[in-house]
Symmetry: C3
Subunit: 321 residues, 3 copies
């Protein structure tokens, strides 16, 4: 499907070059994608029954998985049995994308030229990488860095001292001073000597009319993308980890934190300093009170509060005993 | 009273041009202010009994309010009855102050000239907007941006990679690296398509001898101002929302967050990662334990802790059961 | 022992010039150090029985202490009895190190010269102070500031818009965009008029293979150093206060905060938004759940959660009642 515009893919790579247990398999893999995005020449991975629903429709040709889980694979998808799926995934990602495991500073940064960005206003000392696209009427504040291949739409206002890398920013988006978007997330394989850095080949997508306040951090996805939906507003010092998906029309107050791969519905409002654990699903129209710690899925229309977060009714009961 | 030096007021505007329900009223409003600050040609607003104490002395000529609340208005203050006070306030603010709803980067920024700032020391790549005033013996660190009309007093030390806009900083103030001051707060009228951004025409006032550590965010006021009192010290990564007022001699530890319009007394100490909800009043000499979530007013001299915060005695009792 | 390379020591100073109560003592002190680091010409300090274990082996010649505590001092160590040890320590530190109480921006910053940094890659607008040392194959991102005397090892990747001051960074270290390292910590003697800023003469030491994500703040030590052990990984927006010591192979998730002088063992993992109070000792192999507030020491191999943090067993029991 879509080519990775942010990280150089040095594939295709032959299966027998990557996996010793397949000495005769000279098929090639072209990319590494999640179950739902993998195409017929791609490697995918399956390490938790949580993702079973995506497995049966995957188009991936090969799938990293464990001996226990291999039985769930559809027939066209060849199992590559490993002990530690994430470790092997990390290893293969590094082979295919050698420069995605560390945020190497962009060496193509330059002052923008007027001729290339006719209808864009730049502050002072702005630095722009190669192949950056910026729509008309967008304004970029001083000392801001937009790294290579980033795309920013029309009528956006990007503040000062911002860094945007590995990101697609749509139209009418506001980003306030000091926010950092598209950095590598907190993913690695821990070891006792030198951790193995997990390559992050995903990006950040910020949809129309989003507003992101000052000094936020929004990490790019690892294999998948990080996504902020239309018309969602995010206050200061919010931390959004890799692969998080936030729906439209959400309101996220100051200092909220989302751990990796959390999925947030539409019209969700979250009070200041609340935290959402990784890999959770928060439904639509949910309200989460300030300071709450959400540690399990929340279905649509719930109002929750507390640490761990419970329904508001239960929270009030507990605290009025 | 005082002219808004940060946002251009394109008024005065005639009442009948702003409000369709007053087709014959050709009086003009010159400004929009809170109840206690409004002068005789100003529009003010009253949307909660919480502010009743300010209402009887208001000098405002017109007041946005609801059908329910209009009966409390003093006689010289003409009621403008609306369904949603904040929505109408936002609309009129945008008419009077067209550029306060987004942080448009300051296009007047330039390298400071020695002749204009004789007794100020600048690091490298400092950017200063037009009409900025800086007192003698003040030092401004490298890559820092001071936007137009900001005033900084004498003997201040401003770190590197700081942004200050829409702010009055008094004397002997220290601001450490990376802190952002004066950005638009998190205020808007939510809608299902495109939220309406609430214009923020207030500023930040930082009084003498304040110290603000690294990577804090201090938003400017919406209609009123954000204020930090004398000799108050603020640690790293503290978030101070719009309209917050903090008294003198306070100690605010790292990662504390204040939601909008919280009012904090003098000599208050707040432990790390505590949060204070919006529109609360914290008395003088209050101590708030680290990690607490304060969700209601606290009277003078209390020591509180927990989430929600209760008296230290009650907290210890609960946790020793 | 080691000379302070970051702050100018204007000593030695004669005892009778510093302490009025010693009018005839013309001995000199050369430095001020903690009990375990003080050498035979140094002043040290002892204000809590918590540090008794270090007292008997101290080599310091003079020791600031209280009337109550003086009896514990070894014979070669002369007691200087004061009412408030920290106040007197602060006063003497300021005499010996006049410029360590405020982060005066580095006026020696310049663009790096190719001849001096042959095997280092720099982004745009990088600023480097005098006597900075950077190892080969290290890359420094755009708009980043490395202040005077900082040492950075080989094969490090430092992101954009970073500030590093008063720090020794070893090899293979990664620091992502926007992080601030080496600023003065949150230490002062509160008074009702003008707080007395506590000079911070310590530094930050970051050991091999550490990874620090985006927009963190790591303060330098006050008298001692702040230390991050080998192969420890730190996520976005983490706050590490002065004198904190973190062991090796730790994993610190986003928005965690450490108050001053906390000591963390090896192989510790801490979930997002957790907080660790000051002066605590966390053992090896401890796991602290996200959002926890740790307010007392934790011994090796414990798994804790909650606010205040208790064993996971107790936490689950409490929340399933």
């Amino acid at each position: 499907m879509s080519k990775n515009i942010f990280f150089r893919n040095i594939g295709p790579l032959k299966i027998n070059k990557i996996f010793k247990s397949f000495p005769n398999d000279k098929n090639k893999i072209f990319d590494i994608k999640s179950l739902e995005k993998a195409q017929k020449n791609d490697l995918t991975f399956f390490d938790s029954l949580k993702y079973l629903k995506y497995l049966k429709d995957t188009k991936g040709a090969y799938c990293l998985t464990t001996d226990k889980l291999k039985k769930y694979l559809p027939t066209q998808c060849k199992a590559i049995i490993v002990k530690n799926v994430l470790f092997e995934l990390s290893r293969v990602l590094k082979l295919l994308y050698p420069s995605a495991d560390i945020d190497y500073p962009d060496s193509s940064l330059k002052k923008p030229t007027k001729s290339k960005f006719k209808h864009v206003k730049f502050g002072n000392n702005v630095l722009i990488g190669k192949n950056v696209k910026i729509g008309k009427n967008t304004i970029i504040g001083s000392n801001t860095i937009i790294e290579k291949n980033v795309e920013i739409g029309m009528n956006c206002i990007i503040g000062s001292q911002v860094v945007i890398k590995n990101a697609l920013v749509k139209n009418f988006v506001v980003v306030q001073d000091g926010t950092k978007i598209g950095q590598k997330g907190f993913g690695f394989i821990p070891t006792q000597k030198i951790n193995i850095k997990f390559p992050h080949i995903g990006k950040v997508i910020i949809d129309d009319h989003v507003e992101i306040a000052s000094s936020c951090t929004i990490d790019r996805g690892s294999v998948d993308d990080t996504y902020i939906g239309k018309n969602t507003y995010i206050d200061n010092q919010v931390h959004i980890a890799h692969n998080v998906k936030i729906g439209k029309n959400c309101m996220i107050a100051g200092q909220v934190g989302f751990a990796g791969s959390a999925v947030i519905g539409d019209n969700v409002s979250i009070g200041g300093q609340a935290g959402v654990s990784g890999h959770l699903k928060i439904g639509n129209n949910v309200k989460i009170g300030g300071g709450s710690g959400v540690v399990k899925d929340i279905s649509d229309n719930q109002v929750v509060m507390g640490y761990p977060a419970v329904s508001i009714k239960e929270f009030l009961k507990k605290n009025n005993e």
